[in-house]
Each structure stands twice: as C-alpha cells, then as structure tokens.
C-alpha cells in the first residue's frame, strides 16, 4: 500500500473514529442525560418515600389518637351502663315503695270499711228502734196539732199550726230516709230487666215532668237482665230524676238512657241544669249534705248506698250545660253471653237509631 492509500485509509479510520467518537460522545451525553434523569427520578422517589414516611407517621399518630378516643368512649359507655343500672335500681326501689304504699293504703281502706260496716250494723240495729221511739211521740204531737189547729179559738193561728205540722213531717222524712240508709241487711235481689223497672216508673216521672213544664225522654237500650232489688232501684231512680228535674228551668229536658258499654249496663240520667260546682262534687253523697233549701241531704247518700249494694258504680259528668249521672252495673255471668251477642250487634249499628 502506498502512503496515499494509507493516508486515505487512515483518513477513513479517522473519520470513522471521529464518527465513532461523536457517537460515543453523543451516547455519553445521552447517558449523562439519562443519568441526570435517573438521579432526578431517584431524588423524586426518595422525596416521595420521605413523604410517605411522614404520612405514615401522621397516620400512626392519628390511629393512636383514635384508639385513645375509643378507649375514652369505652370508659364513658361503661360509666353510662353503671349509671343506668343505678337508675334502674332506684326505679325499682320507687316501685317497691309505691307498692307498699298501695298495700298499706288498701289495708287501711279495708279496715276503715270494716269499721264502718260494724258501726253501720250497730247503727242499723239502733236505727229501727230509734225510729219507732221517735215516731210515737211524734204521732201524739202531730195529732194534737191537727186537732187544736182546727178549733175556733185558734183559728187566727191556723197557719202556725200548719207550719208546726209540716216541720214534724219534715223531721219524719229524715227518719224515713235515715232508716233506709242505715239498713244493712243483704237486700233481696233477683234477675230482672232494668228497662221493665224504668218502664213502670216512667209514667210517674213523666207526670211530674209535665207538671213542672219540663220535658223528658226515655231511651231504653238492649240490655241483659241484672241482679236488682226492685224497691231500691225504684228509690234510686226517683231520687235521681227528682234531683234532675229540680235542677232545671222550665222547658229543660231530662233524659233517661240505658245501654251496654264496656261489659257493663249503664243507666244514664241527664239533666240540662246549671251543673254542680266543683267543690260540691266532692261532697256528693255525704249524708246530710244538701244545696237545697228544704233538702234532707239523704237522697244521694241513699242512692250511693243502693249503688254499692248492687256492686255498681256512680260517675258524674257535670258542666254549666247540665249534669249526667252514670250508674254502671256489672253483668251477671249468665247474662254475659247475651252481652257478647249484643256487643257484636253494636259493631254493626242499626241504621236510623
């Protein structure tokens, strides 16, 4: 090979070397770039890693915080459970005490009732005798008042004699009512229809009503037979209707109803009077309590006694528009089958009633 060829070749090689060198340099640059990128990425990763560690640390703290709160809540829940048990215990204590109180009260009421019955028994025995003892001298006095009051020499004082006689009659009425009140014999009751009794009395009450220029309605419902003492129920009805009529002005309406309600037979007597004052309601039925000028104060006491001897109950509804007395009678077992039928009927009311 000649020098020129060698130079050419060398030149080729140099060119190749230069290219390769450029190539290498380029690659080297590239590598450096990559390296720099990798270093950057690495720094980035390291940074992210640090961030994650920070966050992990924060989460751990937060977790510890939550765990602590949970514990606190657990404690508080435990305290509440204890407090709740305490309250439950106190509640039970109060209930026990209330039960004792009720028992004690019931016992006291029972003893009072027995004592009262004993007294009534004694009073009942005495009452009949006393009634007799008083009525005899009363007969003498009344008779002579009538006899002397009719004589000419006392004609000018006849009104006084009449007054004396009426005062005696009033005293006698008190004895009569007291005797019926004091009687404690177990009264004879038999199975009968209350509506029948009402029906028999109705003409009497109606006549009274019309005389006073008042009105009356009688609404007998379908009711089963009850164990009743006819005389006593008659007395009860007359007393209550008389009171109802007296309470009303003219044209007032007295209403007498009978119906079944809640397993009981109810007799309702309603007037359109001015009602009973609250302070008097409490005293109703107390012997000798009356708001009437010429009342004996025994009419309602007798009613209450009659109601009691029939195992019934009196409820009173009173307002300025009027007063209603509700007397609820228990239904005897034999009659209660009839009540079932009747109450079924009530579910499908007869139209037009």
């Amino acid at each position: 090979m000649g020098i020129s060829e060698a130079i050419l070749e060398g030149g080729h090689w140099a060119a190749k070397l230069i290219t390769a060198n450029k190539e290498l340099a380029f690659q080297s640059d590239e590598r450096e770039k990559l390296l720099a990128e990798l270093i950057t990425v690495n720094k980035e990763l390291v940074f992210q890693g640090k961030e994650k560690c920070k966050r992990a640390a924060e989460l751990i703290i937060a977790n510890k915080e939550l765990a602590f709160e949970c514990k606190e809540k657990g404690k508080r829940a435990a305290e509440l459970i204890i407090a709740n048990k305490e309250l439950a215990f106190q509640c039970k204590e109060k209930e026990d005490r209330a039960a004792e109180f009720i028992t004690e009260r019931q016992r006291r009421l029972f003893e009072e009732k027995m004592a009262r019955l004993d007294r009534l028994n004694l009073v009942g025995q005495m009452a009949a005798g006393i009634g007799h003892e008083i009525r005899n001298p009363m007969t003498t006095v009344r008779g002579y008042l009538q006899l002397l009051g009719a004589k000419h020499e006392y004609a000018v004082r006849k009104p006084t004699f009449d007054l004396m006689i009426s005062e005696l009659d009033r005293a006698n009425a008190i004895i009569t009512e007291f005797l019926s009140l004091a009687q404690t014999k177990r009264t004879e009751q038999r199975s009968q229809d209350l509506n029948d009794l009402l029906g028999k009395l109705y003409p009497l009450i109606e006549a009274d009503t019309f005389t006073q220029n008042k009105q009356i309605s009688f609404i007998p419902g379908e009711i089963p037979n009850l164990e009743l003492n006819g005389n006593e129920i008659t007395q009860l009805l007359l007393n209550l209707t008389r009171n109802g009529l007296e309470a009303m002005e003219e044209r007032g309406r007295l209403q007498i109803k009978s119906y079944v309600d809640n397993g009981k037979v109810v007799l309702a007597i309603a007037d359109e009077g001015c009602g009973i004052a609250a302070e008097n309601l409490r005293k109703l039925g107390t012997p000798f309590f009356t708001t009437k000028d010429s009342g004996t104060g025994l009419g309602l006491a007798t009613c209450y006694k009659i109601v009691e001897s029939h195992n019934a109950k009196i409820d009173i509804d009173s307002s300025t528009r009027g007063t209603t007395f509700f007397i609820s009678f228990p239904i005897p077992v034999a009659s209660s089958k009839i009540v079932d039928i009747l109450s079924q009927k009530a579910i499908h009311p007869i139209s037009g009633s």
């Binding site: 008779g143 006899l147 005696l168």
Partner: protein, 122 residues
Amino acid sequence: MGKILVADDQFGVRSLLVEVFREDQHDVETAENGAEALRLFIAFKPDLILLDMKMPVMNGLEALREIRKLDSQVAVIMMTAYGDIQTMETAKDLGILYYMSKPFDLFELRQRISDIFKRIAS
C-alpha cells in the same frame, strides 16, 4: 155513734185518739197491750179496733190472731211506727181494713173511721 177499742202502749197516742173519738160521739175504751186488748174485745164488744203493732206482753199481730179466732169480721185498723213490710203482709192476710204508718194524718184517720161506720150502719 159506735164502739171503738184503742190498743196502744203509748199514753200520748191513747189520749189523742180518745179525745178525737169522743168528740165524734163514739164510745171509746183503751188497752195498753195485746192481752188487755183481747180481754176488752171480749168484754166491750167494739165495732172497730185500732191496734198498734208493737206492744208489750202481747203484740198487735198476736192479738189480731187471737181476735180473728173469735171473730173474723170485726173491723180492724193497724197502726205501726216500724213500717215493717213483712208484718203488714201477715196482718193483711189475717184481715185488716187499713194500716196507718205513724205519725198518721189524724183527719185522714177520722175520715176513714167515719166511712167504716157508715158502711156498718148500712
């Protein structure tokens, strides 16, 4: 007018009725108990007997029973301060014209007695 026997253990009632009946021109005798009433019924032969229920020795009901054994027709009016229904029913069965609850209305009694005597006379 007629003969009346008054049987009552109470002095006041007897005085009252004696005065009233004598005023009305009746012939009156009185008894203090049932036994005396029975005795006088036999001796005095009254047209009418006023008999009180509660009397000592023999009460009105027993006296009435005895009287009815002797005479089923004599007019009897029963008086009572008791108002015992049962006794009154028994007396009615034995036969009485009326019973009067004490204290009675004197004029009503007077009128009834006058009616009785009118019926007896006719």
